[in-house]
């Protein structure tokens, strides 16, 4: 437990001082705000909050994924992780500490998104819950990529295209039904459905996301067991 706490504090301090990462957390809420204020909606039927939900989904799908992968890859590349492990930190404790910071940051960002979208009460709760489920899936996928990549560059090369696909498909699905069907099995699509229609059932999309989380968790454990974080 004290190791998880130490890693958590380390990562928190690091994020606060890492402008490149901080910008990633701030950029999508800011862009969403700018779009909402300045850009006309494509059609009158769409909700006022459409840009907020769109960019919130991109955040949960892409930013969380790429940042998690980048942090782990950097710690490996600089051999910092090796010193932590030699000091007795278990790899899972390391991942809990890093994941904990990512999810804490995501909680703040998604609440900000939610308030920007004008949601309140149960809707805000659903909005945040859906995005946080997505963030959990992204942390797992990001950690898997972080373990598989030798350095930050390799992690970026893997995380960026994956994050783009996961983060942007919900947006493309607005214009194309095939995309919607094909990518419906991925968590980002379901998160998008949830935050765009609070009236529709929460359970089914949430179950699909949980299925995603389960698959990613299994994948993560498999990669982790095989490759570990030692080298």
């Amino acid at each position: 437990m004290r190791s998880v706490k130490a890693i958590f504090i380390k990562q928190l301090l690091d994020i606060i001082k890492n402008r490149m990462v901080l910008i990633q957390f701030v950029i999508f809420p800011v862009v969403a705000l700018v779009f909402t204020e300045l850009v006309a909606k494509p059609s009158e039927e769409m909700a006022d909050s459409m840009f907020v939900t769109m960019f919130a989904c991109i955040y949960a799908g892409m930013t969380v994924l790429a940042t998690t992968a980048g942090i782990i890859a950097e710690d490996r590349e600089r051999r910092s992780l090796r010193f932590l492990i030699m000091a007795g930190v278990k790899p899972y404790q390391y991942l809990l500490g890093i994941g904990g910071v990512m999810l804490t940051a995501s909680l703040i960002v998604t609440v900000v998104f939610g308030l920007m979208g004008g949601f309140g009460g149960a809707d805000l709760l659903k909005f945040v819950a859906a995005l946080m489920l997505g963030a959990v899936a992204s942390v797992l996928l990001g950690a898997t990529i972080g373990i598989l990549s030798k350095n930050q560059q390799a992690a970026g090369a893997m995380a960026m295209p994956l994050g783009m696909i996961l983060g942007f498909t919900p947006m493309l699905a607005m214009f194309n039904d095939t995309v919607k069907k094909v990518f419906g099995i991925f968590y980002t699509m379901q998160v998008d459905m949830l935050v765009n229609d609070f009236a529709a059932g929460f359970l089914k999309p949430a179950l699909v996301i949980l299925a995603n989380v389960t698959v990613l968790l299994v994948m993560f454990v498999a990669v982790y067991t095989k490759k570990g974080l030692r080298s």
Binding site: F83, M86, G88
Partner: protein, 232 residues
């Protein structure tokens, strides 16, 4: 305390360690000497379980918690300050919160405690890495070329610190290609060449054995005599 028996290590087709055997007693300052590429870092990596040998056995008589490491790569968190870097490890070890500051003071970095690692000079980084290695007052300390690339003044400071730690009962395993440093610091040295130990023992005795005592014992001459290879 530390033991290596008939260790063989290959990287692909290159055999780096052909047959390495030695033992380090408790509270000894042990120096592993050899030119660049001899396999010193490889030996430390095998001893500390970061690397598997192809055959042979090795052991260190302490738990990971009782071991301090200063490796060829420092692994410091670049955006965190000196103190924050040590605080992370103090948290992991669960040791008193005053220890990081004490460790910084012992390497002369107390005034730099708030500076980010990315803004440190090479020598300062190296001293910080040493502070992290001694933070939890380990029983066994591995130092991979602790003074390489440092100015003589800073190097002397580190020598004094190593001496101090040794006086307090720590077992110290260091690597160097600085023979003078080895004679000054070590109770026991081993000379590594072509993948095996070509000579070991008390540095002064070794020099006497090989008639290499000039004004000061000259390990360098022993090495050249044994291997025909110059260290510099």
């Amino acid at each position: 305390m530390i033991q290596m028996n008939n260790i063989v290590k290959r990287f692909g087709s290159q055999t780096v360690l052909t047959d390495v055997t030695f033992a380090v007693k408790e509270k000894e300052v042990f120096g592993l000497l050899g030119p660049s590429g001899a396999g010193k870092t490889t030996i430390i990596n095998i001893l500390t379980n970061q690397l598997d040998a192809d055959s042979g056995s090795s052991s260190i008589g302490v738990t990971p918690m009782e071991m301090g490491l200063m490796l060829d790569e420092d692994g410091l968190f670049p955006r965190l300050s000196c103190l924050e870097n040590l605080n992370v490890f103090a948290g992991v070890y669960g040791i008193p919160r005053r220890r990081p500051m004490e460790a910084l003071a012992s390497v002369g970095l107390e005034k730099t405690s708030k500076k980010a690692v990315s803004a440190l000079s090479k020598g300062m980084r190296q001293r910080l890495a040493l502070a992290r290695a001694i933070l939890h007052q380990p029983k066994v300390l591995f130092l991979d070329e602790p003074t390489s690339g440092l100015d003589p003044g800073t190097a002397r400071g580190i020598h004094k610190l190593i001496q101090n730690l040794s006086d307090k009962g720590a077992t110290i395993f260091l690597t160097t290609h600085n023979m003078e440093e080895a004679v000054r610091l070590c109770d026991h040295v081993a000379l590594l060449h072509n993948g095996s130990i070509v000579e070991e023992g008390d540095p002064v005795e070794i020099c006497e054995r090989h008639n290499a005592v000039k004004m000061t014992p000259d390990l360098e001459a022993v090495f050249i005599k044994l291997t025909g290879v110059d260290l510099a």
